[in-house]
Amino acid sequence: MLTANRLIDGTVLYWRGGGWVETLGEADVFAEPQTADAALAAAKDFVTRNVVVNPYLFEVKDGRPVAEREIIRAAGPSVRRDLGKQADV
Protein backbone atom coordinates (compact mmCIF):
# COMPACT_ATOMS: atom_id res chain seq x y z
CA MET A 1 0.00 0.00 0.00
CA LEU A 2 1.00 3.63 -0.37
CA THR A 3 0.99 6.23 2.38
CA ALA A 4 2.07 9.83 3.06
CA ASN A 5 1.38 12.66 5.50
CA ARG A 6 -0.79 15.61 4.59
CA LEU A 7 1.28 18.78 4.51
CA ILE A 8 -1.08 21.15 6.27
CA ASP A 9 -1.72 19.10 9.41
CA GLY A 10 0.46 15.99 9.20
CA THR A 11 -2.50 13.57 9.00
CA VAL A 12 -1.66 10.06 7.79
CA LEU A 13 -3.10 9.43 4.31
CA TYR A 14 -3.45 6.37 2.07
CA TRP A 15 -3.64 6.12 -1.69
CA ARG A 16 -6.88 5.21 -3.43
CA GLY A 17 -7.49 5.45 -7.14
CA GLY A 18 -5.27 8.41 -7.85
CA GLY A 19 -6.07 10.37 -4.70
CA TRP A 20 -5.90 10.15 -0.91
CA VAL A 21 -8.13 8.77 1.86
CA GLU A 22 -7.66 8.88 5.62
CA THR A 23 -8.41 5.26 6.51
CA LEU A 24 -6.30 2.28 5.68
CA GLY A 25 -9.36 0.06 5.19
CA GLU A 26 -10.54 2.15 2.25
CA ALA A 27 -7.18 2.29 0.47
CA ASP A 28 -5.84 0.40 -2.54
CA VAL A 29 -3.81 -2.75 -2.05
CA PHE A 30 -1.35 -3.30 -4.90
CA ALA A 31 -0.88 -6.90 -5.84
CA GLU A 32 1.94 -6.16 -8.30
CA PRO A 33 5.14 -4.21 -7.71
CA GLN A 34 4.58 -2.41 -11.05
CA THR A 35 1.24 -0.90 -10.03
CA ALA A 36 2.67 0.04 -6.66
CA ASP A 37 5.60 1.82 -8.29
CA ALA A 38 3.31 3.58 -10.72
CA ALA A 39 1.17 4.84 -7.81
CA LEU A 40 4.29 6.04 -5.99
CA ALA A 41 5.38 7.93 -9.10
CA ALA A 42 1.93 9.51 -9.33
CA ALA A 43 2.05 10.39 -5.64
CA LYS A 44 5.26 12.35 -6.20
CA ASP A 45 3.14 14.80 -8.17
CA PHE A 46 1.22 15.56 -4.95
CA VAL A 47 4.53 16.27 -3.29
CA THR A 48 5.44 18.75 -6.00
CA ARG A 49 2.02 20.35 -5.61
CA ASN A 50 2.60 20.57 -1.84
CA VAL A 51 -0.36 18.48 -0.80
CA VAL A 52 1.53 15.67 0.94
CA VAL A 53 5.02 14.91 2.20
CA ASN A 54 7.05 11.75 2.38
CA PRO A 55 5.06 9.20 0.33
CA TYR A 56 6.30 5.59 0.54
CA LEU A 57 5.13 2.02 0.02
CA PHE A 58 4.67 -0.55 2.76
CA GLU A 59 3.86 -4.22 2.89
CA VAL A 60 0.50 -5.68 3.86
CA LYS A 61 -0.71 -9.23 4.37
CA ASP A 62 -4.44 -9.98 4.27
CA GLY A 63 -5.13 -6.24 4.27
CA ARG A 64 -3.14 -5.72 7.47
CA PRO A 65 0.28 -4.00 7.58
CA VAL A 66 3.18 -6.32 8.32
CA ALA A 67 5.22 -3.82 10.34
CA GLU A 68 4.10 -2.68 13.79
CA ARG A 69 4.95 0.87 12.75
CA GLU A 70 2.25 0.88 10.07
CA ILE A 71 -0.31 -0.75 12.35
CA ILE A 72 0.25 2.10 14.82
CA ARG A 73 0.18 4.78 12.12
CA ALA A 74 -3.11 3.43 10.83
CA ALA A 75 -4.71 3.38 14.28
CA GLY A 76 -3.06 5.97 16.52
CA PRO A 77 -0.94 5.55 19.66
CA SER A 78 -1.52 2.09 21.18
CA VAL A 79 -1.23 3.72 24.61
CA ARG A 80 -3.99 6.25 23.89
CA ARG A 81 -6.91 4.44 22.32
CA ASP A 82 -8.90 7.67 22.60
CA LEU A 83 -6.65 9.43 20.09
CA GLY A 84 -5.85 9.18 16.40
CA LYS A 85 -7.82 7.35 13.74
CA GLN A 86 -8.91 4.57 16.12
CA ALA A 87 -10.84 7.20 18.12
CA ASP A 88 -12.96 8.22 15.13
CA VAL A 89 -14.40 4.79 14.40
Partner: protein, 551 residues
Protein backbone atom coordinates in the same frame (compact mmCIF):
# COMPACT_ATOMS: atom_id res chain seq x y z
CA UNK B 1 14.06 33.47 38.01
CA UNK B 2 14.87 33.42 34.30
CA UNK B 3 13.67 36.55 32.58
CA UNK B 4 13.99 37.40 29.05
CA UNK B 5 15.24 40.84 28.50
CA UNK B 6 14.08 43.22 25.78
CA UNK B 7 16.68 41.86 23.48
CA UNK B 8 15.29 38.34 23.74
CA UNK B 9 11.76 39.60 23.31
CA UNK B 10 12.67 41.29 20.04
CA UNK B 11 14.63 38.28 18.84
CA UNK B 12 11.80 35.84 19.57
CA UNK B 13 9.20 38.14 17.98
CA UNK B 14 11.31 38.39 14.84
CA UNK B 15 11.86 34.66 14.69
CA UNK B 16 8.13 34.00 15.12
CA UNK B 17 7.23 36.40 12.30
CA UNK B 18 9.91 34.94 10.04
CA UNK B 19 8.53 31.48 10.67
CA UNK B 20 4.97 32.62 10.00
CA UNK B 21 6.14 33.93 6.65
CA UNK B 22 7.92 30.66 5.85
CA UNK B 23 4.88 28.57 6.78
CA UNK B 24 2.71 30.74 4.54
CA UNK B 25 5.13 30.30 1.68
CA UNK B 26 5.25 26.57 2.30
CA UNK B 27 1.47 26.26 2.32
CA UNK B 28 1.22 28.35 -0.85
CA UNK B 29 3.76 26.07 -2.45
CA UNK B 30 6.53 28.64 -2.79
CA UNK B 31 8.87 26.50 -0.72
CA UNK B 32 9.42 22.78 -1.20
CA UNK B 33 9.69 20.41 1.79
CA UNK B 34 13.46 20.25 1.35
CA UNK B 35 13.71 24.03 1.43
CA UNK B 36 11.31 24.33 4.34
CA UNK B 37 12.61 21.55 6.59
CA UNK B 38 15.61 23.45 8.00
CA UNK B 39 13.32 26.34 9.04
CA UNK B 40 10.87 23.91 10.56
CA UNK B 41 13.57 22.18 12.58
CA UNK B 42 15.09 25.47 13.70
CA UNK B 43 11.74 26.18 15.29
CA UNK B 44 11.41 22.83 17.00
CA UNK B 45 8.86 21.38 14.59
CA UNK B 46 9.22 17.71 13.56
CA UNK B 47 6.99 15.42 11.52
CA UNK B 48 6.17 12.30 13.51
CA UNK B 49 4.10 9.17 12.91
CA UNK B 50 0.62 10.62 13.30
CA UNK B 51 1.17 14.34 13.03
CA UNK B 52 3.65 17.13 13.55
CA UNK B 53 5.40 17.48 16.89
CA UNK B 54 6.38 20.81 18.43
CA UNK B 55 9.20 20.90 20.97
CA UNK B 56 9.21 23.83 23.35
CA UNK B 57 12.20 24.81 25.45
CA UNK B 58 11.89 25.20 29.20
CA UNK B 59 15.11 27.07 29.98
CA UNK B 60 16.77 25.50 33.05
CA UNK B 61 13.51 23.69 33.50
CA UNK B 62 11.96 26.68 35.26
CA UNK B 63 8.26 27.45 34.68
CA UNK B 64 5.97 30.12 36.14
CA UNK B 65 2.21 29.93 36.67
CA UNK B 66 1.37 32.06 33.59
CA UNK B 67 3.60 29.81 31.49
CA UNK B 68 1.89 26.67 32.78
CA UNK B 69 -1.49 28.20 32.02
CA UNK B 70 -0.33 28.99 28.51
CA UNK B 71 0.88 25.42 27.98
CA UNK B 72 -2.51 24.15 29.20
CA UNK B 73 -4.25 26.57 26.84
CA UNK B 74 -2.18 25.43 23.87
CA UNK B 75 -2.81 21.78 24.74
CA UNK B 76 -6.55 22.50 24.70
CA UNK B 77 -6.80 24.81 21.75
CA UNK B 78 -4.27 23.41 19.29
CA UNK B 79 -3.47 19.93 20.52
CA UNK B 80 -5.27 16.96 22.07
CA UNK B 81 -5.33 18.13 25.65
CA UNK B 82 -1.89 17.06 26.88
CA UNK B 83 1.85 17.56 26.60
CA UNK B 84 4.87 15.32 27.10
CA UNK B 85 7.81 16.35 29.29
CA UNK B 86 11.10 15.02 27.93
CA UNK B 87 14.50 14.17 29.37
CA UNK B 88 15.91 17.42 27.98
CA UNK B 89 13.79 19.84 29.96
CA UNK B 90 11.55 20.37 26.96
CA UNK B 91 7.84 19.93 26.46
CA UNK B 92 6.52 18.24 23.34
CA UNK B 93 3.08 18.62 21.82
CA UNK B 94 2.17 15.63 19.67
CA UNK B 95 -0.64 16.88 17.46
CA UNK B 96 -0.19 20.49 16.27
CA UNK B 97 -1.21 21.39 12.73
CA UNK B 98 1.41 23.07 10.59
CA UNK B 99 -0.97 25.92 9.80
CA UNK B 100 -1.42 26.64 13.54
CA UNK B 101 2.22 26.58 14.55
CA UNK B 102 2.92 30.28 13.90
CA UNK B 103 -0.03 31.17 16.14
CA UNK B 104 1.20 28.76 18.82
CA UNK B 105 4.65 30.34 18.75
CA UNK B 106 3.15 33.83 18.93
CA UNK B 107 1.06 32.82 21.95
CA UNK B 108 4.10 31.26 23.61
CA UNK B 109 6.09 34.44 23.07
CA UNK B 110 3.56 36.35 25.20
CA UNK B 111 4.77 34.32 28.19
CA UNK B 112 8.43 34.49 27.16
CA UNK B 113 8.63 30.97 25.77
CA UNK B 114 9.82 29.63 22.45
CA UNK B 115 11.11 26.61 20.57
CA UNK B 116 14.49 28.03 19.63
CA UNK B 117 17.55 25.78 20.12
CA UNK B 118 15.41 22.69 20.56
CA UNK B 119 16.63 21.12 17.34
CA UNK B 120 19.16 21.53 14.57
CA UNK B 121 22.95 21.56 14.64
CA UNK B 122 23.37 24.38 17.09
CA UNK B 123 24.16 24.74 20.77
CA UNK B 124 20.93 23.32 22.19
CA UNK B 125 19.02 24.68 25.15
CA UNK B 126 21.41 24.51 28.09
CA UNK B 127 20.19 22.22 30.85
CA UNK B 128 20.78 22.50 34.55
CA UNK B 129 19.99 20.95 37.92
CA UNK B 130 16.25 20.91 38.60
CA UNK B 131 16.98 21.52 42.28
CA UNK B 132 19.02 24.64 41.43
CA UNK B 133 18.74 27.42 43.98
CA UNK B 134 17.14 25.07 46.50
CA UNK B 135 19.50 22.13 47.05
CA UNK B 136 21.23 22.06 50.41
CA UNK B 137 24.52 20.92 48.87
CA UNK B 138 25.10 23.21 45.91
CA UNK B 139 28.14 25.50 45.64
CA UNK B 140 26.01 28.20 44.06
CA UNK B 141 22.95 28.45 41.83
CA UNK B 142 24.03 27.01 38.45
CA UNK B 143 21.36 28.82 36.43
CA UNK B 144 23.12 32.19 36.00
CA UNK B 145 26.01 30.34 34.36
CA UNK B 146 23.60 28.38 32.17
CA UNK B 147 21.95 31.65 31.19
CA UNK B 148 25.27 33.28 30.39
CA UNK B 149 26.07 30.36 28.09
CA UNK B 150 22.64 30.57 26.49
CA UNK B 151 23.01 34.26 25.72
CA UNK B 152 26.48 33.78 24.29
CA UNK B 153 25.61 30.73 22.23
CA UNK B 154 22.14 31.42 20.93
CA UNK B 155 23.26 34.15 18.58
CA UNK B 156 26.80 33.19 17.88
CA UNK B 157 27.05 33.29 14.09
CA UNK B 158 29.85 30.75 13.99
CA UNK B 159 27.91 28.26 16.08
CA UNK B 160 24.49 28.16 14.44
CA UNK B 161 25.68 25.67 11.86
CA UNK B 162 27.91 23.28 13.71
CA UNK B 163 28.89 19.88 12.40
CA UNK B 164 26.23 18.46 14.70
CA UNK B 165 24.13 19.46 17.67
CA UNK B 166 25.94 20.47 20.84
CA UNK B 167 24.48 19.96 24.29
CA UNK B 168 25.80 21.63 27.43
CA UNK B 169 24.77 20.96 31.02
CA UNK B 170 25.66 22.91 34.15
CA UNK B 171 25.66 21.55 37.68
CA UNK B 172 26.83 22.89 41.02
CA UNK B 173 26.18 19.97 43.31
CA UNK B 174 28.27 16.92 44.20
CA UNK B 175 25.13 14.97 43.37
CA UNK B 176 24.74 15.25 39.64
CA UNK B 177 21.15 15.47 38.49
CA UNK B 178 21.91 16.70 34.97
CA UNK B 179 23.49 13.60 33.38
CA UNK B 180 26.51 15.88 33.04
CA UNK B 181 28.92 13.28 31.73
CA UNK B 182 26.57 12.32 28.91
CA UNK B 183 26.71 15.83 27.43
CA UNK B 184 28.94 17.17 24.66
CA UNK B 185 30.28 19.58 27.25
CA UNK B 186 29.65 19.78 30.98
CA UNK B 187 30.32 22.61 33.39
CA UNK B 188 30.63 21.69 37.06
CA UNK B 189 30.74 24.63 39.41
CA UNK B 190 33.35 23.88 42.07
CA UNK B 191 35.33 25.56 44.85
CA UNK B 192 39.12 25.28 44.72
CA UNK B 193 41.39 24.90 47.74
CA UNK B 194 41.45 28.69 48.25
CA UNK B 195 37.67 28.70 48.45
CA UNK B 196 37.34 30.43 45.08
CA UNK B 197 34.46 29.41 42.83
CA UNK B 198 35.29 28.33 39.28
CA UNK B 199 34.51 25.63 36.76
CA UNK B 200 35.59 22.06 36.06
CA UNK B 201 35.00 21.38 32.37
CA UNK B 202 34.15 18.08 30.75
CA UNK B 203 34.09 17.26 27.04
CA UNK B 204 33.00 14.40 24.85
CA UNK B 205 29.97 12.72 26.37
CA UNK B 206 26.92 11.53 24.53
CA UNK B 207 24.39 8.77 24.12
CA UNK B 208 23.03 7.67 20.77
CA UNK B 209 24.39 4.64 18.95
CA UNK B 210 27.92 5.09 20.31
CA UNK B 211 27.71 6.16 23.93
CA UNK B 212 30.66 7.87 25.64
CA UNK B 213 31.23 9.49 29.00
CA UNK B 214 32.96 12.83 28.88
CA UNK B 215 36.33 13.39 30.51
CA UNK B 216 37.78 16.36 32.34
CA UNK B 217 39.69 18.76 30.10
CA UNK B 218 40.16 21.51 32.68
CA UNK B 219 40.17 21.09 36.45
CA UNK B 220 39.62 24.74 37.27
CA UNK B 221 38.68 27.58 34.95
CA UNK B 222 38.38 31.01 36.53
CA UNK B 223 34.99 32.70 36.34
CA UNK B 224 35.84 35.43 33.78
CA UNK B 225 37.34 32.81 31.44
CA UNK B 226 34.36 30.51 31.06
CA UNK B 227 33.09 31.70 27.70
CA UNK B 228 36.59 31.90 26.27
CA UNK B 229 37.18 28.29 27.27
CA UNK B 230 33.87 27.05 25.87
CA UNK B 231 34.51 28.96 22.68
CA UNK B 232 37.87 27.25 22.43
CA UNK B 233 36.15 23.86 22.67
CA UNK B 234 33.66 24.79 19.97
CA UNK B 235 36.43 26.06 17.72
CA UNK B 236 38.26 22.77 17.97
CA UNK B 237 34.99 20.99 17.20
CA UNK B 238 34.30 23.25 14.25
CA UNK B 239 37.77 22.81 12.82
CA UNK B 240 38.20 19.09 13.32
CA UNK B 241 34.83 17.47 13.92
CA UNK B 242 33.79 15.14 11.12
CA UNK B 243 31.17 16.48 8.77
CA UNK B 244 31.29 13.60 6.32
CA UNK B 245 29.41 11.07 8.44
CA UNK B 246 26.44 12.00 10.59
CA UNK B 247 27.12 9.11 12.97
CA UNK B 248 30.63 10.33 13.62
CA UNK B 249 29.92 14.04 13.74
CA UNK B 250 29.37 14.61 17.46
CA UNK B 251 32.27 15.94 19.52
CA UNK B 252 32.33 12.67 21.50
CA UNK B 253 33.87 10.95 18.47
CA UNK B 254 36.53 13.63 18.02
CA UNK B 255 37.27 13.71 21.75
CA UNK B 256 37.72 9.97 22.03
CA UNK B 257 39.69 9.67 18.79
CA UNK B 258 42.13 12.39 19.84
CA UNK B 259 42.29 11.30 23.48
CA UNK B 260 42.38 13.56 26.47
CA UNK B 261 45.94 14.88 26.09
CA UNK B 262 45.68 15.94 22.47
CA UNK B 263 42.19 17.30 22.98
CA UNK B 264 43.27 19.33 25.97
CA UNK B 265 46.29 20.71 24.10
CA UNK B 266 44.19 21.77 21.15
CA UNK B 267 41.66 23.49 23.40
CA UNK B 268 44.40 25.17 25.44
CA UNK B 269 45.95 26.58 22.27
CA UNK B 270 42.69 28.12 21.13
CA UNK B 271 41.98 29.27 24.66
CA UNK B 272 45.29 31.13 24.86
CA UNK B 273 44.55 32.85 21.58
CA UNK B 274 41.06 33.92 22.59
CA UNK B 275 42.31 35.11 25.96
CA UNK B 276 45.06 37.14 24.32
CA UNK B 277 42.44 38.88 22.20
CA UNK B 278 40.57 39.58 25.42
CA UNK B 279 37.18 39.90 23.79
CA UNK B 280 35.39 37.11 25.59
CA UNK B 281 36.17 37.93 29.18
CA UNK B 282 32.97 37.83 31.21
CA UNK B 283 32.63 41.20 32.94
CA UNK B 284 31.65 41.03 36.58
CA UNK B 285 28.89 43.52 35.91
CA UNK B 286 27.27 41.20 33.39
CA UNK B 287 27.46 38.30 35.84
CA UNK B 288 25.83 40.41 38.50
CA UNK B 289 23.08 41.46 36.11
CA UNK B 290 22.25 37.87 35.25
CA UNK B 291 22.54 36.72 38.86
CA UNK B 292 19.97 39.35 39.77
CA UNK B 293 17.49 37.58 37.46
CA UNK B 294 17.89 34.48 39.55
CA UNK B 295 17.85 36.25 42.89
CA UNK B 296 16.51 33.87 45.52
CA UNK B 297 12.83 34.32 46.34
CA UNK B 298 11.85 35.89 49.66
CA UNK B 299 12.16 32.95 52.04
CA UNK B 300 10.45 33.32 55.37
CA UNK B 301 12.37 32.80 58.59
CA UNK B 302 10.81 29.52 59.68
CA UNK B 303 11.44 27.34 62.70
CA UNK B 304 12.95 23.89 62.34
CA UNK B 305 10.03 21.66 61.26
CA UNK B 306 9.83 17.89 61.26
CA UNK B 307 8.62 16.13 58.13
CA UNK B 308 5.17 14.56 58.49
CA UNK B 309 5.12 10.79 58.82
CA UNK B 310 2.61 7.95 58.54
CA UNK B 311 0.01 6.87 56.04
CA UNK B 312 -0.14 7.87 52.39
CA UNK B 313 1.25 11.30 53.22
CA UNK B 314 4.25 9.79 54.99
CA UNK B 315 5.03 7.44 52.09
CA UNK B 316 4.90 10.30 49.66
CA UNK B 317 7.08 12.52 51.87
CA UNK B 318 9.67 9.75 52.20
CA UNK B 319 10.14 9.28 48.47
CA UNK B 320 9.19 12.66 47.01
CA UNK B 321 10.93 15.28 49.18
CA UNK B 322 14.56 16.38 49.27
CA UNK B 323 16.43 18.58 51.80
CA UNK B 324 16.26 22.32 51.11
CA UNK B 325 19.03 24.75 51.92
CA UNK B 326 16.68 27.02 53.88
CA UNK B 327 15.32 25.97 57.28
CA UNK B 328 11.64 25.01 57.33
CA UNK B 329 11.50 24.40 53.56
CA UNK B 330 11.72 21.27 51.45
CA UNK B 331 11.91 20.37 47.76
CA UNK B 332 9.00 18.33 46.42
CA UNK B 333 9.15 16.07 43.37
CA UNK B 334 5.84 15.67 41.57
CA UNK B 335 5.94 12.30 39.87
CA UNK B 336 4.65 12.16 36.29
CA UNK B 337 4.80 8.37 36.52
CA UNK B 338 1.41 7.20 37.74
CA UNK B 339 1.34 3.40 37.94
CA UNK B 340 0.60 2.12 34.44
CA UNK B 341 0.53 5.64 32.97
CA UNK B 342 2.55 7.29 30.19
CA UNK B 343 5.83 8.58 31.72
CA UNK B 344 6.13 12.35 31.29
CA UNK B 345 2.63 13.11 30.06
CA UNK B 346 0.57 15.84 31.72
CA UNK B 347 -2.99 16.81 30.86
CA UNK B 348 -4.21 20.38 30.43
CA UNK B 349 -6.23 20.02 33.65
CA UNK B 350 -3.07 19.03 35.50
CA UNK B 351 -1.08 21.91 34.02
CA UNK B 352 -3.80 24.38 35.01
CA UNK B 353 -4.13 22.76 38.42
CA UNK B 354 -0.40 23.10 39.02
CA UNK B 355 -0.48 26.75 37.97
CA UNK B 356 -3.07 27.34 40.67
CA UNK B 357 -0.81 25.68 43.27
CA UNK B 358 2.37 27.54 42.54
CA UNK B 359 1.77 30.80 44.33
CA UNK B 360 0.29 29.12 47.38
CA UNK B 361 2.93 26.46 47.78
CA UNK B 362 6.17 27.12 45.94
CA UNK B 363 6.90 30.84 45.76
CA UNK B 364 5.63 30.85 42.18
CA UNK B 365 8.08 28.37 40.68
CA UNK B 366 7.91 24.95 39.06
CA UNK B 367 10.80 22.96 37.62
CA UNK B 368 11.01 20.26 34.99
CA UNK B 369 13.50 17.47 35.67
CA UNK B 370 15.45 15.36 33.19
CA UNK B 371 13.80 12.39 34.80
CA UNK B 372 10.49 13.51 33.30
CA UNK B 373 9.09 14.72 36.59
CA UNK B 374 8.15 18.13 37.91
CA UNK B 375 9.58 19.80 40.98
CA UNK B 376 8.25 22.37 43.44
CA UNK B 377 11.54 23.82 44.63
CA UNK B 378 10.46 25.87 47.65
CA UNK B 379 7.73 24.27 49.76
CA UNK B 380 7.19 25.03 53.44
CA UNK B 381 7.35 21.77 55.37
CA UNK B 382 4.23 22.72 57.30
CA UNK B 383 2.32 22.99 54.00
CA UNK B 384 3.08 19.41 52.96
CA UNK B 385 -0.25 17.90 54.13
CA UNK B 386 -2.30 20.54 52.29
CA UNK B 387 -0.12 20.24 49.18
CA UNK B 388 -0.40 16.46 49.22
CA UNK B 389 -4.16 16.74 49.30
CA UNK B 390 -4.24 19.13 46.34
CA UNK B 391 -1.84 16.98 44.32
CA UNK B 392 -3.85 13.86 45.10
CA UNK B 393 -6.93 15.55 43.65
CA UNK B 394 -4.96 16.27 40.46
CA UNK B 395 -3.72 12.68 40.21
CA UNK B 396 -0.18 13.93 40.81
CA UNK B 397 0.71 12.44 44.18
CA UNK B 398 2.26 9.13 43.10
CA UNK B 399 4.75 8.30 45.88
CA UNK B 400 7.52 6.85 43.73
CA UNK B 401 10.23 9.45 43.00
CA UNK B 402 13.56 7.66 42.59
CA UNK B 403 11.96 4.22 42.91
CA UNK B 404 11.68 1.49 40.31
CA UNK B 405 8.36 2.71 38.86
CA UNK B 406 9.83 6.20 38.31
CA UNK B 407 10.95 5.08 34.86
CA UNK B 408 12.36 7.25 32.11
CA UNK B 409 10.90 6.42 28.74
CA UNK B 410 10.99 7.98 25.27
CA UNK B 411 7.85 8.19 23.08
CA UNK B 412 8.96 5.17 21.05
CA UNK B 413 6.91 3.65 18.26
CA UNK B 414 3.64 5.02 19.58
CA UNK B 415 4.66 8.46 18.31
CA UNK B 416 8.18 8.61 16.98
CA UNK B 417 9.04 8.36 13.32
CA UNK B 418 12.50 6.98 14.06
CA UNK B 419 11.45 4.28 16.49
CA UNK B 420 12.09 0.58 16.11
CA UNK B 421 9.83 -0.54 18.91
CA UNK B 422 7.32 0.73 21.42
CA UNK B 423 8.75 1.86 24.72
CA UNK B 424 5.75 3.28 26.61
CA UNK B 425 3.92 -0.05 26.66
CA UNK B 426 6.97 -1.70 28.21
CA UNK B 427 7.22 1.06 30.83
CA UNK B 428 3.55 0.57 31.68
CA UNK B 429 3.89 -3.16 32.06
CA UNK B 430 6.93 -2.85 34.35
CA UNK B 431 5.24 -0.11 36.36
CA UNK B 432 2.22 -2.35 36.99
CA UNK B 433 4.44 -5.27 38.00
CA UNK B 434 6.11 -3.24 40.70
CA UNK B 435 3.09 -1.20 41.74
CA UNK B 436 3.20 -2.35 45.36
CA UNK B 437 4.68 0.44 47.48
CA UNK B 438 6.32 -1.76 50.10
CA UNK B 439 8.03 -3.81 47.41
CA UNK B 440 9.27 -0.63 45.72
CA UNK B 441 10.76 0.64 48.97
CA UNK B 442 12.38 -2.71 49.60
CA UNK B 443 14.03 -2.57 46.16
CA UNK B 444 15.11 1.01 46.78
CA UNK B 445 17.03 3.21 44.35
CA UNK B 446 16.73 1.55 40.95
CA UNK B 447 16.51 3.48 37.73
CA UNK B 448 15.02 1.87 34.64
CA UNK B 449 15.41 3.79 31.38
CA UNK B 450 13.82 2.80 28.08
CA UNK B 451 14.48 3.93 24.49
CA UNK B 452 12.65 2.85 21.36
CA UNK B 453 15.77 3.00 19.18
CA UNK B 454 19.53 3.58 19.32
CA UNK B 455 19.15 7.36 19.44
CA UNK B 456 18.79 6.85 23.17
CA UNK B 457 16.36 9.65 23.96
CA UNK B 458 15.21 7.47 26.86
CA UNK B 459 18.79 7.28 28.24
CA UNK B 460 18.91 3.46 28.19
CA UNK B 461 22.73 3.44 28.39
CA UNK B 462 22.47 5.30 31.67
CA UNK B 463 19.83 3.13 33.32
CA UNK B 464 20.77 0.91 36.25
CA UNK B 465 18.61 -1.31 34.09
CA UNK B 466 18.35 -0.07 30.50
CA UNK B 467 15.99 -1.31 27.82
CA UNK B 468 16.54 -0.74 24.12
CA UNK B 469 13.88 -1.48 21.52
CA UNK B 470 15.08 -3.08 18.30
CA UNK B 471 13.31 -4.22 15.18
CA UNK B 472 13.56 -7.75 13.87
CA UNK B 473 11.75 -8.00 10.57
CA UNK B 474 8.97 -5.69 11.68
CA UNK B 475 8.63 -7.33 15.12
CA UNK B 476 9.57 -5.55 18.32
CA UNK B 477 12.41 -6.93 20.45
CA UNK B 478 14.06 -5.56 23.55
CA UNK B 479 17.64 -5.68 24.73
CA UNK B 480 18.45 -5.48 28.43
CA UNK B 481 21.40 -3.42 29.66
CA UNK B 482 22.79 -3.53 33.17
CA UNK B 483 24.95 -1.17 35.19
CA UNK B 484 24.56 2.28 33.63
CA UNK B 485 24.35 5.52 35.57
CA UNK B 486 23.91 9.18 34.64
CA UNK B 487 24.78 10.51 38.09
CA UNK B 488 28.14 11.46 39.64
CA UNK B 489 29.07 7.77 39.50
CA UNK B 490 28.39 7.72 35.74
CA UNK B 491 28.85 4.56 33.71
CA UNK B 492 27.59 3.02 30.49
CA UNK B 493 25.34 -0.02 30.78
CA UNK B 494 26.35 -3.30 29.17
CA UNK B 495 24.08 -5.40 26.99
CA UNK B 496 23.16 -8.63 28.72
CA UNK B 497 22.60 -10.78 25.64
CA UNK B 498 19.96 -11.63 23.05
CA UNK B 499 16.78 -9.56 23.01
CA UNK B 500 13.44 -10.43 24.56
CA UNK B 501 10.02 -10.37 22.93
CA UNK B 502 7.39 -7.78 23.77
CA UNK B 503 5.70 -10.12 26.25
CA UNK B 504 8.92 -11.43 27.79
CA UNK B 505 10.83 -8.31 28.68
CA UNK B 506 8.92 -7.37 31.87
CA UNK B 507 9.39 -10.93 33.16
CA UNK B 508 13.10 -10.71 32.46
CA UNK B 509 13.32 -7.41 34.37
CA UNK B 510 11.48 -8.94 37.28
CA UNK B 511 13.86 -11.90 37.38
CA UNK B 512 16.86 -9.56 37.35
CA UNK B 513 15.40 -7.52 40.22
CA UNK B 514 14.64 -10.66 42.22
CA UNK B 515 18.21 -11.83 41.69
CA UNK B 516 19.45 -8.49 43.03
CA UNK B 517 17.29 -8.82 46.15
CA UNK B 518 18.84 -12.22 46.82
CA UNK B 519 22.42 -11.19 46.08
CA UNK B 520 22.70 -7.75 47.61
CA UNK B 521 24.64 -6.99 50.74
CA UNK B 522 23.03 -4.81 53.40
CA UNK B 523 22.58 -1.25 52.21
CA UNK B 524 23.73 -2.01 48.68
CA UNK B 525 21.88 -0.37 45.76
CA UNK B 526 21.23 -2.32 42.56
CA UNK B 527 24.00 -0.41 40.82
CA UNK B 528 26.54 -1.35 43.47
CA UNK B 529 25.56 -4.99 43.50
CA UNK B 530 25.83 -5.17 39.72
CA UNK B 531 29.25 -3.50 39.83
CA UNK B 532 30.46 -5.88 42.51
CA UNK B 533 29.21 -9.04 40.84
CA UNK B 534 29.35 -8.22 37.14
CA UNK B 535 26.80 -9.30 34.54
CA UNK B 536 26.86 -13.04 34.98
CA UNK B 537 24.40 -13.58 37.85
CA UNK B 538 21.94 -11.26 36.14
CA UNK B 539 22.41 -12.97 32.83
CA UNK B 540 21.66 -16.30 34.45
CA UNK B 541 18.58 -14.85 36.11
CA UNK B 542 17.29 -13.11 32.99
CA UNK B 543 17.67 -16.08 30.67
CA UNK B 544 17.04 -18.76 33.25
CA UNK B 545 13.65 -19.79 31.99
CA UNK B 546 13.92 -19.25 28.28
CA UNK B 547 16.57 -18.68 25.70
CA UNK B 548 14.59 -18.28 22.54
CA UNK B 549 15.04 -14.52 22.16
CA UNK B 550 16.49 -12.79 19.14
CA UNK B 551 20.03 -11.49 18.97
Amino acid sequence: MYRYDEFDARFVAERTEQFRFQVERRLKGELSEDQFKPFRLMNGLYLQLHAYMLRIAVPYGTLSAPQLRMLAHIARKYDRGYGHFTTRQNLQFNWPKLKDVPDILAELATVEMHAIQTSGNCVRNVTSDHFAGADAEEVEDPRPVAELIRQWSSLHPEFSFLGRKFKIAVTASGHDRTALRYHDAGVEIVKNSDGRVGYRIYVGGGMGRTPYLSYVVAEFIEKPDLLAYLEAILRVFNESGRRDNIYKARIKILAHTLGVTAMRDRIEREFAEIKAAGTLEVPEKECARIEAYFAPPAFADLPETALPTGGALGDWVTSNTHPHRVRGYTIVTISLKPIGGVPGDASHEQLDGLAALLDDFSLGELRVSHEQNLVLPHVRIKDLPALHERLTALGLATPNAGLITDLICCPGLDYCDLANARSITIAQEISKRFADGARQHEIGDLKIKISGCVNACGHHHAGHIGILGVDKKGVEYYQLLIGGSAAEDASIGEILGPGFGEHEIADAVERVVDAYLKLRQPGERFLETSRRLGLEPFRTAAYGEQRDGAD
